[in-house]
Amino acid sequence: MPTLNDILILLPEFYLVAVACLLLLLDAFMKPEQRGTLHWISIVVLLVAAYMVVAGQPDVSVTAFGGMFVRDQVSEILKVFALLCTVLVLVYARPYLQDRRQFIGEFYTLILFAVIGVMLLVSAGSLVMVYLGLELLTLSSYALVALNRDSSLSSEAAIKYFVLGALSSGMLLYGMSMVYGATGTLDLAQLHVAVTQSAMPHLLVFGLVFMLVGIAFKLGAAPFHMWIPDVYQGASTPVTTFIASTSKLAAFGMAWRLLETGLGGLSQHWQPMLAAIAVLSMAIGNLVAIVQTNLKRMLAYSTISHMGYLLVGLVSAGPEGYSAAMFYAISYALMSTVSFGVILALARAGFECEEIADLKGLNQRSPWFAALMALALFSLAGVPPLFGFYAKYLVLQAAIDAHLLWLAIVGAVFAIVGLYYYLHVVKVMYFDKPEEGGADQPQSDGSLRVVLSINALALLVLGVYWGPLLGWCRHSFGLG
């Protein structure tokens, strides 16, 4: 029987489930013109949930439901940023959805359920919970991608996402079953102990490989990245923003839970495999991004490369590397909300602002948004003094500390390649002449402008004042 204590530990999650159900009901009784309230309610709800997470943050890790659910600092940080990023997504999405008659209750309910999935995933204490959280997140995401019924591109993306996602979930499950077979436990903490004493190391490593495939797929790391460009391009931009930001935090959380808290004893096996995936991701992501003409596709390939950098942190297998990777995940989430936020702000009814060419001469039409986008792009490219530089710096440092100098050099080389396509977009915005029909002075509402500006300027502020966030990340992994 669950005790009251169990429920208290899961209070933010229970609260969100309740609200999500309530919203679904509320939506059924709402007239279309009243939907605006739904939007504000969702934002307030998410902020309250974030407050509940922070306020109830335990100093030590606590478990509930017999170890199924872990509430520790790592999960709390990821949850807070996942909730904040979702708030950003909602703020940026509003004018876009209104213009396109997609301003419907399902969107909010699905987003909320996806966030609950994220929260369960990053707090998972057992393989079952990992799977549950992951499916809640991805099933909601499939539906979100398919939400734009009228677009054949969206439907195609959704099907691709669903088929590949189901396949990878199957892989993950298959791997989990083998690990269970080798160790006899599903609990991650017990698994950690059992791995070293397992009598069937081969089965264990076999299972590990399948689980790695699942993890790489969810992160969008090469060579399991095929769905990313299509889904990013096909999904309506608010959904893309959500997948690019919040779900990357979840994917990091999942990777860390499985690899470190569960299979930490096998690190000498998964380290080289992850390193290979990291190198492939950085190479494929950065090289293919160069030839893209569609902005969303380009950002999709850049995501793949960023996941490579995140993996460089994870490969370093140690608290330094994990905190660097978490810092990277947070920084990537905040940067991608800005880049997609600008796309959302510039889109208007009948115009998507998806092609890089649409941004031509943006500096002359709308200097402020051009500046925000340039900030995000320079940050993504890793140019100091912006946030993204420190994220890259930390993962490279972690790699060197783990005696993986070669990996750091590979990462550095591909950072130069990556610079090219980010600069290309800046070039288009600043140096090209504006074209008819391109991105214009945005008609977006005030809340979007203000929040997007804060979001983008945060990249600059966090570039100078990144100590506290880093300290928080390090502290959660037990570093001073």
């Binding site: 200097p367 100091p384 490279l396 500390d401 950072a415 880093l470 570093l479």
Partner: protein, 502 residues
């Protein structure tokens, strides 16, 4: 206030960029005056360095050190020695001249132009002050963004190609420097330059770190064969961008050599001194010849910049050779001092040359030498300045160009007469391309009817050129104050050379 003088120097112009930007394109004059105000304020603040800095002491002074990132032991560390002080003064002077020089010339979004200049100035001062390697790296890289935009928005027809090339080239080099710095941090646990200087390193480690550093700084200087971005960047950059690029930004490369290669990897530096000296001589001789055949005035001056910066790298590494291989510390000091004087002098002379070309370009909108001829007939005042700077550029005694080159040649003679022989070539080739340039542009008949309509320089342009001229002549006639300012710091740098790490 003096406790935070360096921070003030860095952040005042950067903060000034905000109101200038906010003044907006609707009030361009307000933006211009605000920009000038902040440039002048920064300059005045930089003058306080002179009484505050004790030149007889040498060493790092005016220290500011705050913990920036506690968990990684990264510091916000600033300090200056005589060399930094001289370079900071150069930066603040050039800052004012650039703003004045761009006054009416930049009509397209002047507020953004001025703001970029202010931000650039603050960041460059930051480079010259940083004593924490990570902080240095951040400033070193942050310079790229405003320069990228300066060239890309206000540049010439092929500006996009040039600015992308510029950014990617320089970023390429510095990324390897970052890896080297991370490796050093991994060994030392800190980015403090002094600790890194004391860090024992095997020769193998030194060698890799040396090449990583050399790549970063050689691209910035730029040295042959990684100099190709510079002519492109110069040709396409607006006048102000070229002036800042030549006068200050290139010095960041040689300054980095001084602060990183010399103290951190002295043994590798000494071992590979021949390489750098060889490349410097190639720059001096070969690039001099390349300059000779240029048809674009800006390209000619850009190549002559590469040749002159070759003298700086030559001076620095000849000091290595002298101090380490030959044990001649006094001459080593002479070479190093020559390099430092040459750095400052090149700042004035190349800045002035680019300003002159800008003045002509504003009137005729061409930079091809063949479009001009007989300019002196219609622009006598301008001709006066142009000849003066041309003379300084080819190292005429009595101008600043002579002092540094002379000292470096003198020092290299001690090391190896052949090096001095090739280095002295610059005096001949430099004279050839500069005088030929003057001949084709200034003298002769007016063949082009447009040239006949050119007006002589106005008060604003006179102010800029006169300032440059005064500094060039002052430094040429009486270099003593500058040498005194840097003397004890140079001595310390040369003493550091003698330290063996293995």
């Amino acid at each position: 206030m003096f406790n935070h003088l360096l921070s003030l120097l860095i952040w005042l112009p950067i903060a000034g960029a905000v109101p200038v930007l906010l003044a907006g394109s609707a009030r361009p004059n307000l933006a211009r005056w605000l920009a000038l105000l902040f440039m002048v304020l920064t300059f005045v603040a930089s003058l306080f360095l002179l009484p505050q800095y004790d030149a007889t002491q040498g060493g790092m002074q005016l220290v500011e050190n705050h913990l920036w990132i506690a968990s990684l032991n990264v510091h916000y560390g600033l300090a200056v020695d005589g060399i930094s002080v001289a370079l900071i003064l150069l930066t603040t002077v050039v800052g004012i001249l650039v703003v004045v020089g761009a006054w009416e010339v930049i009509q397209n979004k002047p507020h953004q132009y001025m703001a970029a200049m202010l931000a650039l100035e603050g960041v460059m001062i930051g480079v010259f002050c940083a004593t924490d390697a990570l902080l240095f790296y951040v400033f070193f890289e942050a310079m790229l963004i405003p320069m990228f935009i300066l060239i890309g928005v206000w540049g010439g027809p092929r500006r996009v190609y040039a600015t992308l090339k510029f950014f990617i080239y320089t970023f390429f080099g510095s990324v390897f420097m970052l890896i080297a710095l991370l490796y050093l941090y991994h060994k030392a646990g800190t980015f403090d330059l002094r600790t890194l200087a004391a860090l024992p390193l095997t020769f193998n480690e030194q060698m890799w770190i040396f090449f990583a550093f050399l790549l970063a700084f050689a691209i910035k200087v730029p040295m042959v064969p990684v100099h190709t971005w510079l002519p492109d960047a110069h040709v396409e950059a607006p006048t102000g961008g070229s002036v800042v690029l030549a006068a200050v930004m290139l010095k960041v490369g040689t300054y980095g050599m001084l602060r990183f290669i010399l103290p951190i990897v002295p043994d590798a530096g000494q071992h590979f001194a021949w390489l750098v000296i060889g490349l410097s001589l190639v720059a001096v001789v070969y690039i001099g010849y390349v300059a000779l055949v240029q048809e674009d005035m800006k390209k000619l001056v850009a190549y002559s910049s590469v040749a002159h910066m070759g003298f700086v790298t030559l001076g620095i590494f000849i000091a290595f050779m002298l101090a380490r291989q030959l044990g001649d510390v006094d001459t080593a000091r002479l070479g190093m001092q020559g390099a430092m004087v040459q750095m400052i002098s090149h700042g004035f002379v190349s800045g002035a040359m680019f300003t002159c070309i800008g003045v002509m370009y504003d009137r005729l909108h061409t930079r091809l030498i063949k479009d001009y001829g007989g300019v002196i007939n219609v622009m006598p005042w301008f001709g006066f300045f142009y000849v003066l700077f041309a003379m300084a550029n080819c190292g005429l005694p009595g101008t600043s160009g002579f002092v540094g080159e002379f000292m470096v040649v003198l020092a290299s003679f001690k090391a190896n007469p052949w090096i001095a022989f090739f280095a002295a070539f610059t005096l001949i080739i430099g004279a050839a391309y500069t005088l030929w340039l003057v001949k084709r542009v200034l003298w002769g008949e007016i063949r082009n009817p447009h040239v006949a309509e050119m007006k002589d320089i106005n008060g604003r342009e006179t102010f800029v050129l006169l300032t440059f001229a005064a500094l060039t002549v002052a430094l040429g006639v009486w270099p003593e104050p500058l040498i005194h300012l840097m003397d004890s710091s140079v001595t310390q740098v040369v003493q550091q050379l003698a330290i063996h790490k293995i």
